[in-house]
Subunit: 365 residues, 3 copies
């Protein structure tokens, strides 16, 4: 890991050094595990004991903490600790090792155009008419199919799959094993199917079934991903049927997020681990979906919506709404409903007592 | 993309051309984005404005729409729009580029038998005693382990994993990154474990724990997949313990579906995105499980069952049932329960008022 | 498959042979499908009919079953059937075919150290400063990034991804497609974000939004995995921000389990299919999480906790607790709440009748 002076890091954070800015650090550590060349991340008072245990000379500390009393020789005060964490970890991240140039084992179609300064690892396959941006880094075992376009400074990690005609913007990060541009899951029966009847009647038409097989709707569209997007490990984004499935600039998808065919996801969204978006969903900007959130097909989710973990969205959501639960309702409504449910057994007892008093009967409901 | 005349497409759909059947189209598009060589998909009246915006000469339209008034030179009327979509997209899908023959970089065991006309891409590994069917297409980075059999006309996409002795039927599609034949998740403790006690007592026996480790039950069975099956990107199907895990003809699994060891899934089922089926579950024919549906282990799900998104099945389900919720109940029951829950806070207020009136007390429940 | 005598298997199980211990078996089978060289697994009375149908000469049977009456020539009585299954399947598992030595197609950095007797398959990439333990077996298409360490006797299956500086213990099994050491999902906005406000107010502060993008917190930590751990197909474990994400000895993760950055998971846990653990969660020892269980970020789960399928944990859990539901509560409480909810529509009717009787009104709540 390269070393940085405390002064350099403070400058990157847009803040001042307290103490000796010439100290060089080569890594970050939790206060208790920090060695003398580590920058300890001690951004709240609870880390004071850890600092005493470890041997950090320099730390990032929270506002109001006394660096001298903590035994430090240098400190940087971070008014917003996680922003400090972002800048410090960015500066100290060595990044993945992907050797410069094109590894001789890779199979690159002669019609592909590789941007200046791109690095391509072993066993990469790049198909016909692919364009790779300048300085893009592509790790081992990646496949990029015919006609795909990868932007400048993209980082595509081990075994990621990019399908035919997928377009990926600048500075995008694809984590290992993600699949961009698998076929959409779209099948139809010759006659009205059981599942169509069920959806139309909310399940009131059980049982009247004509057995029939599924005919496949092919995916002629592709996937378009904006700039500064990150896609998590083993996540999947399916291609559209006619138009493209799209992901807006700055949106981040966590591991194993699934985005179905024809979805249009806006800018600066966060989709946390294992979120599932069914087909043809439209999502606005800055939407944050908690882990395992599910969204049923053909819905619209407005901008600035936030969901708690495992929220299941079964109907359209206006902008700015905070949701929780299955099915999703306003977060505070869910909390009220849930409290009432916890008190329900007692409520039933009360009603039984009332019933006895009013109707002079022992029958409990 | 190859061109087709409108007459050819109408014939494939088993319907007539309105207008000029000689027009050639080379792709499909949404009405508003369509160019003069695109077939616009405008199967309901809401697309009329789009047709005016775009420059399509030909379109697939819905019953009752007036093609001349829409400004078209040719039209095909689709009585069931999604079936039309299936046929049109099938005709126009260029399919993935996988060069004919066997790529020289592939590692193919000399005991493997490769069918006539099979295409095998770069960096594919095919183990001992594998059989690959005629005209099968295998994209880059796929591995097919010892003794596996792949049917005719199969399409196995990038980085799919086929384990030892797995049997896969004709015309099966494996999307990128799926894993067929990982080991089952099956472990046992020497003495009765905490989790066994919990399941037996529904959690009433908290706390009495003898620490012990897990012994692995190996998977000697494999996986058998019928004809015309599709497996989604990054989906996983585990091998059986003694017998094989099986998937019936015509069943389709979406991305990230998990099928545990020993499951037997029938024909023509649809398992939507992120569905999880625990071990030893039996599922009938034509079952449709909505996205994120979960099924607990050792259950039976009858034929023609349909579940809404994120339904969690914790007990056996008779045929033809439509289910929703956690735990799963009949869809209409769930809707009733849910409505009642939303009214519960008001019900509690009513009971408090009754209590005050009847018992002359201020105490609220 | 190698053959074993019934006597050898009985010895492995620590039990006696009934009948002819010299019979050689080469596989296991369900009773009805068993051939003469198969050991039938018939560990409860329900398998008696199957034994008559098949042609097994030898079987593992349950306590109290009469081997002669079942038509067997040899039998092994298993007091705890699943333990017997573990030992028998272990003995008879041929394991994956991974040829001895290093496949010539693999790309191994000259600074990597490969342990004695290790087997490395085709198209494997091993980066700088990697250490591979003795007798480790690494299947095709695996990548192991710079500075990672793999223990002795590890089994790393097709296409598994091991990130930079990840440490993996002895006898660990990585199923195909799992990703160990993807980057953590950790982003921050310059100013307080909508999602922070929502969490602080439980959604009561809808709407007051300043649009802003996400800044990435890089993952400088790595992942440490103990001995005897198994990681399922397409599962993902993210690296820590500063410290490492850790998995204790003997813990098993099923397919598509997601473990977020900074998590610390104890020993001998079972995390079933599609479980999702958000960032910075601490989990004790011997915890068993049912399939699709979700755990929100920054929580502590005590040792010996057990959850039912799809339980969603939104708050810290003391040791030994059995949980169910969304949100998770004690399993028996959940069952009570659920029963009350099913009776709720009837309760509402009773309250309406009371209201009418007491207040002499027709108004229903």
């Amino acid at each position: 890991m390269t070393g940085y002076s405390i002064q350099q890091i403070a400058t990157a954070l847009g803040t001042e050094v307290l103490g000796d800015g010439t100290i060089i650090v080569t890594g970050v550590a939790e206060p208790g595990q920090a060695g003398p060349d580590d920058l300890a991340m001690a951004m709240s008072a609870k880390y004071a004991a850890g600092l005493a245990q470890g041997s950090a000379r320099a730390a990032v500390i929270g506002a109001g903490m006394d660096w001298r009393a903590l035994g430090l020789q240098a400190a940087i005060v971070a008014p917003r600790p996680r922003i400090a964490m972002a800048h410090v970890t960015c500066a100290l991240d060595p990044g993945p090792v992907i050797a410069a140039g094109i590894h001789p084992s890779s199979v690159i179609d002669p019609t592909a155009r590789i941007g200046a300064g791109a690095a391509i690892g072993p066993f990469v396959v790049i198909g016909p008419d692919v364009q790779i941006g300048a300085r893009a880094r592509i790790a081992s075992h990646v496949s990029i199919a015919e006609g795909a376009r990868i932007g400048d400074d993209a980082l595509i990690l081990q075994g990621a799959r990019v399908g035919a005609r997928v377009i990926i913007g600048d500075r995008v990060i694809l984590q290992p094993g993600c699949v961009i541009g698998g076929d959409g899951f779209s099948f139809v029966t010759p006659e009205t199917s059981q599942v169509e009847t069920t959806r139309a009647t909310l399940g009131k038409a059980d049982g009247a079934v004509t057995p029939q097989g599924w005919t496949r709707i092919h995916s002629l569209g592709s996937v378009r991903i904006g700039d500064d997007v990150e896609i998590g490990a083993n996540a999947t984004i399916d291609r559209g049927t006619v138009a493209d499935t799209t992901i807006g600039n700055g949106t981040k998808l966590d591991n194993m997020v699934h985005v179905g065919h024809n979805c249009r996801i806006g800018q600066d969204c966060l989709l946390c681990g294992q979120v599932g978006i069914a087909g043809s969903v439209t999502i606005g900007d800055r939407v944050v979906l908690g882990g395992q959130t599910g969204v049923a097909d053909n819905l619209e989710i407005g901008s600035d919506v936030v969901t708690g973990a495992s929220t299941i969205i079964l109907s359209t959501v206006p902008p700015g709404r905070a949701l929780l639960g299955y099915p999703a309702v306003r977060m505070e409504t869910q909390v009220e409903m849930y409290k009432a449910l916890r008190r329900l057994p007692r409520l039933a007892q009360t009603v039984a007592a009332l019933q006895k008093a009013v109707f002079k009967t022992d029958k409990t409901s």
